[in-house]
């Protein structure tokens, strides 16, 4: 249990949800805290703290999971080139995209595409939003922290 959300004002939560919805709707765009805070109508410091308390992850990490989820869906379901996917899903360069995806999933974009095709199945009657949420990468720690742990050879050790 995270506990904290039940003590947050529902009116504030509703406004934080609006910022989360906006990221969901356009995850390829830049979402600095200043912009998100404006959507929610709160100060920047208040926004970052409240968002994490409400949704369990900092806003920039939430955005990252949405970008990766979209990128993986495009790798899986389309023939769009990997470079195009990188730019369409909000990365400034192909290198950053590839590195982040590798850090999170352990695979290169090309390998993810090949594996997904091997396992391809019909989407059936599950609404796409639910399907995409089910395939969202679960980022419990920051990507930078994950990188640091791998680099330091302490992957999997306790926190």
């Amino acid at each position: 249990m995270t506990g904290g959300a039940a003590t947050q004002d529902p009116e504030l939560l509703r406004r934080l949800l609006r910022a989360k919805d906006r990221m969901d709707g356009a995850s390829q765009e830049d979402w600095p805290v200043r912009r998100l805070a404006r959507v929610s109508g709160v100060s920047q410091a208040h926004f970052a703290r409240s968002f994490k308390q409400a949704f369990g992850v900092p806003p920039h990490r939430y955005l990252l999971t949405r970008r990766l989820e979209r990128a993986m869906a495009l790798l899986r379901d389309t023939d769009i080139s990997i470079t195009d996917i990188a730019f369409r899903t909000g990365w400034a360069s192909l290198g950053t995209f590839g590195r982040t995806l590798r850090d999170v999933t352990g695979e290169n974009p090309g390998a993810i595409r090949a594996q997904a095709r091997a396992l391809s199945r019909a989407p059936g009657r599950v609404p796409t939003c639910v399907l995409s949420a089910a395939q969202r990468p679960d980022l419990r720690i920051a990507v930078s922290e994950k990188r640091r742990r791998v680099a330091g050879g302490i992957n999997g050790s306790d926190e």
Binding site: A6, P10, L13, R14, L17, K20, A54, F55, P127
Partner: protein, 136 residues
């Protein structure tokens, strides 16, 4: 009288606000609106679906203690309740109509897998997917 599900309820933060939203913006009709003290049983209905009622219920006494009601209001407000799906004949025209009435859309009509869908929320935070009925 056939058998089946008759009522499924949503939690809403304010029943008057929810009633206005579902009736005026979505075109539902009031089915039942009765009070007993603080308690209000309020259900609405899609005009094409007379055997089903959508309950618009407010967390609070006498059903919930204050802490439980607060938790439920928080869960709804952060969009953590299960998704709802509305089927329409034409997603893009429904989107235009509803948007003109002030519905908060979270996703514009998008074509996926040969079907068009959009997303919106009610004022409380309940999330709806609006899908075009498949023509078979």
């Amino acid at each position: 009288m056939s058998q089946g599900i008759e009522v499924i309820g949503l939690y809403v933060r304010d029943q008057d606000e929810a009633l206005a939203f579902y009736v005026e913006k979505l075109g539902f009709r009031v089915h039942t609106d009765v009070r007993n003290g603080d308690y209000r049983w309020l259900t609405v209905q899609h005009p094409d679906q007379p055997s089903f009622q959508l309950g618009l219920f407010a967390p609070g006494p006498p059903v919930h203690d204050a802490a439980t009601a607060q938790t439920l209001r928080a869960i709804v407000a952060k969009g953590a309740m299960p998704p709802l799906v509305l089927t329409v004949d034409n997603c893009r025209s429904a989107y235009d109509r509803m948007r003109a009435r002030g519905v908060e859309f979270t996703q514009e009509p998008t074509e996926r897998f040969g079907n068009v869908d959009a997303g919106f929320r009610d004022p409380s935070g309940n999330g709806w997917k609006m899908m075009e009925a498949r023509r078979l």
